[in-house]
Assembly symmetry: C2
Homo-oligomer: 251 residues x 2
Amino acid sequence: MSGRLSVVGLGPGEAAVRTPQAEAALAAATDLVGYGPYLARVAAAPAQARHPSDNREEVARACHALGLAADGRHVAVVSSGDAGVFGMASAVFEAIEAGPPAWRRLEVEVVPGISAMFAAAARIGAPLGHDFCAISLSDNLKPWEVVAQRLRAAAGAGFVVALYNPLSRARPWQLGAAFDLLRPILPGATPVVFATAVTRPEERIDVTTLADADQARADMRTLVLVGTKATRRVERPSAPPWLYAPRRGCA
Amino acid sequence: MSGRLSVVGLGPGEAAVRTPQAEAALAAATDLVGYGPYLARVAAAPAQARHPSDNREEVARACHALGLAADGRHVAVVSSGDAGVFGMASAVFEAIEAGPPAWRRLEVEVVPGISAMFAAAARIGAPLGHDFCAISLSDNLKPWEVVAQRLRAAAGAGFVVALYNPLSRARPWQLGAAFDLLRPILPGATPVVFATAVTRPEERIDVTTLADADQARADMRTLVLVGTKATRRVERPSAPPWLYAPRRGCA
């Protein structure tokens, strides 16, 4: 058997937001590799080995998966959302680049998924309907000054901003610092959305403004969206407002 | 019957990259509304009315769909990729905001899809694996100077850039102008990807560099990705290289 490896985006949560292509890649695997809580979202199949691992061990997990594939297994590495967006795909290619030459001969595919940012946006309208960017607030691997520079550049140029990895127990201040950086650049009325556990039973969507944005509303499962001067708010009777980015894309 | 409207992201092309949630929204509709070639991707269902329209009539199409929903129909408005990313969702909310108050009481949902940028990225590795942005090069609705400012800001701050609507018969020079703007900011060796008709039978992926990037490689179906100084290229024997953004996200 010739080994292969699929990096599979599971989508944000429920299986209805997972593509048939992803389901087929999962079903064809002899081995599933991933962060434990993500693996738990995949229905059990007989004769399929599961290799759960802890968080923040991406490269070790990728090397393990590549080793299994090099031994002839059909491996699916799972990632939440889209595997290419702050997910496992980059870790797999980092491991391939640094690993034995044989790993470059493996059949590797990346299966895209519905990203957290698009699932969150869909829940409240079309806030990403024009030019936008995604920034990870994690400074585990890049200096905070790089994060700060990107926040300033994005807000100054009129991009809607999606903030990934807003905070964690080990990084408790980054989201508040991001709001503080943005406040001199954007009006206080700029819409801010906290979208937590989107499409999961515990989903929670809070819409507020930059002036009132409080990082205490976020946890590790939260995706934060920051609008622009152009973002529109459509009030509705007896329902939360819709937010959208007008197609002209500027104020 | 109480009317409702779903804005459905069909994904980039083949049905294997369309979610069950999207299929369910299409199947539940009494009326399908959309740009003709996108409607043609949806399997015919008996007793379902189809309302194809031409390109560049987004707001008229949205008003038509909302009028049908206000008459009690169950309407699905289709969009390629993710409906919230330079798709029909913004046009629908623009129409709701400007339309009769009754439209604000309609049940409206946005169903996310696999966006062209993530489908394209998956085909060549993980080039969007760190901070990135999406910019529409269309200056039909926003001044070119806004586009230019966003390109400079994004490249200067180290974002990977996905270029939507790179060019058309009516806008033949914008993509070349974008490359010219980026060349003084990014090294000539920066990877550039032309991903055309991703997941469709005529799919074509060209990997080149910013120095060699020629807008003649693109057409209306092309998504262009521009890397950063940090983008890595992993050579493979007898196969095209992988591209990825390292998880540290900066050079």
